[in-house]
């Protein structure tokens, strides 16, 4: 990654020349750099653009790094076990990425016992109007009912504007890992592939695209028979019927 030590040293010299200049003078100066400095010009231009306290990239380093007690326990999450979202009570995190968390949750309003995978997008990354839209389109997805597709049970927006979706909790292994662990050759893999196509075809026929279909999104359940593919969150936002984007 990045620049060599020599390049860093040269960049340092060049910045020393450029920093005291006005922005107009810098432009002239940049244009007059000799060919041996050309590989650095782009870096230099970007660096100098950052000479503005409002530029996000330069501010990004102003905050001390966020820390997690981590080391030894589970993934970092914004939500916590026992928290209620709608009718669901969070039990344990199944996964967390930069954009969303997924929790194993149970229905806690006494209507019925059911474990679900509850996806909660990190709201700090989601524009407010998206939250409503998210919930609306999830309801469309909830109409999908097919053996190869994880059911979407419910979606909602908590009073504090935290959106969530409750999906069927699928305990399975990602497609490729499963095939490898079974020592499958081409034929059974093709069989699985055809099952995935069936499920995709079903969704497409209803005007819904997945938009992030890949082996790691396809889980093979314990019986080795029923295959699920999991709808990535963005699928919720983009039924193909919405031709405006």
């Amino acid at each position: 990654m990045g620049l060599s030590t020599q390049q860093m040293a040269r960049l340092s010299e060049l910045l020393d020349q450029a920093l005291p200049m006005t922005s107009a003078a810098r432009r002239t100066w940049l244009a007059g750099l000799t060919s041996e400095d050309l590989p650095l010009v782009q870096s230099l231009r970007e660096a100098l653009q950052a000479d503005d306290p409002d530029v996000a990239s330069i501010r990004s380093l102003d905050q001390p790094p966020a820390m997690d007690p981590g080391a030894g326990d589970s993934v970092a999450t914004e939500h916590h076990a026992g928290e209620r979202l709608g009718a669901y009570e969070l039990q344990r995190p199944l996964g967390a990425g930069g954009m969303a968390e997924v929790w194993l949750a149970r229905r806690a309003d006494g209507t019925f016992e059911r474990l679900v995978a509850l996806k909660i997008p990190r709201l700090s990354h989601v524009p407010v109007e998206m939250a409503e839209r998210f919930a609306r389109e999830c309801r469309i997805l909830a109409t999908l009912e097919f053996p190869g597709i994880a059911r979407l049970y419910d979606a909602g927006v908590e009073a504090n504007r935290t959106p969530y979706i409750a999906m069927e909790y699928v305990q399975g292994e990602p497609l490729i890992a499963w095939c490898d662990s079974q020592g499958h050759d081409v034929r059974p893999r093709i069989d699985l592939f055809l099952q995935v196509l069936d499920a995709v075809g079903y969704a497409h026929a209803r005007g819904i695209v997945h938009r992030d279909l890949k082996p790691s999104n396809i889980l093979v359940t314990g019986q080795g028979e029923v295959r699920r593919w999991i709808l990535a969150w963005q699928a919720c936002c983009r039924p193909t019927r919405n031709r405006d984007r």
Binding site: M1, G2, S4, T5, Q7, M8, L11, S12, L15, D16, L19, S43, E46, A47, L48, A50, D51, I58, L61, Q63, P64, P65, A66, M67, D68, P69, G70, A71, V75, A76, T77, E78, H80, L94, G95, A96, G98, M99, A100, E101, V102, A117, K119, P121, H125, V126, V170, G172, E173, P174, R211, D212, S216, N217, L219, I230, A232, W233, Q234, C237
Partner: protein, 192 residues
């Protein structure tokens, strides 16, 4: 710090002075003494604060400095040297914690769902940024040790510009200038 020699804690002031004078062995010994204690403090603080807390490294360094002084292990006039040194320890605590977390994410077994939404998908997770800054800082240190020192104190130590100015014995304006240039260099190195 396996294999490091046990150092009587009362020698902290002595070690600090030797380390400052460029004695690498004293530096290692100092690290061996202070690292576990600062790390312990950091962890305890994080437990109290719950998850995803911003670790207030700055007050942590202050607190440990006071403890060392109160227990007679450190003389008050060594404050500057201690602060310069402590930011290095904090960096190490933070980087190690980030490495643990990154390893955990990679090794945490299957994640049954993909969480991408397409919105700012390229934003790296916190620990990736930390590790990138750490690496970029290594090369920056070879080019300009003072710039690297400023980054270490500002980013990893969380010190104020005034504190950095006192530690380095320069004006605050100089610290601001150095910090701006250091950030430019880091960003160029991280993106380049």
């Amino acid at each position: 710090m396996a294999g490091a020699k046990i150092v009587p804690v009362a020698d902290l002031t002595q070690l600090l002075r030797q380390a400052q004078a460029g004695d690498a062995q004293a530096r290692d010994a100092l690290f061996a003494v202070a690292y576990p204690r600062l790390q312990q403090l950091a962890r305890a603080r994080l437990r109290d604060g719950g998850r995803n807390t911003m670790l207030d490294t700055r007050s942590l360094v202050h607190e440990s400095y006071l403890r060392y002084v109160q227990s007679g292990e450190l003389r008050a006039e060594d404050r500057r040297a201690f602060f310069a040194f402590a930011s290095q320890v904090m960096r190490s605590v933070i980087v190690n914690s980030a490495r643990d977390r990154a390893a955990q994410k990679r090794g945490a077994g299957y994640r049954p769902v993909t969480l991408s939404t397409g919105i700012s998908e390229r934003t790296p997770d916190g620990e990736e940024v930390i590790l990138q800054v750490h690496e970029a800082l290594e090369s920056l240190a070879q080019v300009d040790a003072r710039l690297a020192q400023v980054v270490q104190m500002r980013y990893f130590g969380g010190y104020s510009e005034q504190e950095i100015a006192e530690t380095l014995e320069v004006t605050e304006r100089t610290v601001q200038r150095l910090w701006l240039k250091a950030r430019m260099m880091l960003l160029a190195s991280m993106q380049g």
